[in-house]
Amino acid sequence: MLHSEPPLGEGIFPRFPMKSIFHICAFVVCSALLTTTSLRADNPPQKISLSDFPAAAVDEVVVPVPSEIFAVLDKLGNPNWKGQLRDGKARTPEDRARTALLLGNVIAEGFVAVEAEDAERVKELGRQVLTLAEAINVRKSVIARSKSITDMADQRDWKGVRSEFDGALQDVRSAMQELNDQDLSQLVSLGGWLRGTEVLTSIVQGGFAKDGTELLHQPELVSYFDRCIGTMGKRLRKNPLIVSVRDVLRKIEPIVNEGGDKIIPAQVKTIHEFTHGVNQQIVEGTGGN
């Protein structure tokens, strides 16, 4: 027989001739390649030179919200969060700069209270957020958040509370930007970052050194906060509390510029002492107006 039957396939294609299977496979591979090409039309270089991007072609860093850091801390273990909670209630300052810093500080404290699963403290902090927001004319932006924080704390919906504190921070900042209060908006972020860093360094010192220390490697962020203060109005820049905050940023910047694994325990302690000191000033009003 000159023209024998084409060989039949085996396995999952037992009834199809081998030639047909080849054609089907070729079609599938081509289709897959075409699909891949359309989903990834560009071919990015494996390495680029960042110096090719002048300052004008680089957008400023977006400050991480506290839950980005707490999401990592969740995976590290179970620190003594109750031990990190700050006692007492700060009085609402008359100085708007200090109020903005304190508002950020209180929101960050809310995250600590969530981690400690302290419903009463969470509710109290939710109310403080509302009071402080009122003092800087952005109360309306957080009324619903404050209520949700209380409701969710009662239900012990900690994930929900965390989301509301995140939302409160972002809503307050947006409301301030709408009021052209960019500087105060940055101070809210900075206040949150300072309290978050104080707590983080405390936890790292308490035995979560290896992975926790790496979270302190935030060079661009510290430099960004410093630049922000540098562009604020003269009156704000000369505010004694802001001067103290900037001084702390400049002292810790060389440390956080180090790679995470290069930050030694003594440096973690230093960052903690600096941030703890300036946060006390924010809460108690010493060093400010």
């Binding site: 039309a41 990015p44 991007f53 980005e68 939302g167 972002q170 790496e214």
Partner: protein, 153 residues
Amino acid sequence: MNLRIAQSFASLGRRIPLLGVAFLCFVPLLHATVDDALSFAYEAALPYYKQGFSIRKDAWGGDLGVKEKKAVSSQLFRGNDYWFLMATDVKGASLSVHIYDDKGNLVDAESWQKGRFAGVRVSPKATGTFFAIVQILKSPEDRTPWALVYGYK
């Protein structure tokens, strides 16, 4: 965040009839805006929100010419997963976003690009500063508005 995204869609929905009228009356004045690009970026982020990613309200945006690139710096933390979603509202445009570390090494875990949307996932091996490089690959416009959002979990 859910509320925010819902509001974005609701406001987009409310605007559609108005945009139609505006288009008929003021065709030469109608230009794509970064706000519209942002609505599309949130649209691209929606599937990831449903997968448990928290989507940030803060976003980057602007306009770029074709083949023009911009670097967006971002502080990322090892232990988190991130999705960056970029979009434009310009029909017929395509764009890309990729993530590089502070030494200029590509660190994309996966990426996709589909017309006016692009996305990239990154799982940082170290905490630090990263750069999202955004680019307009092609566009019928001279300047193409774009917006970039990110989510984490």
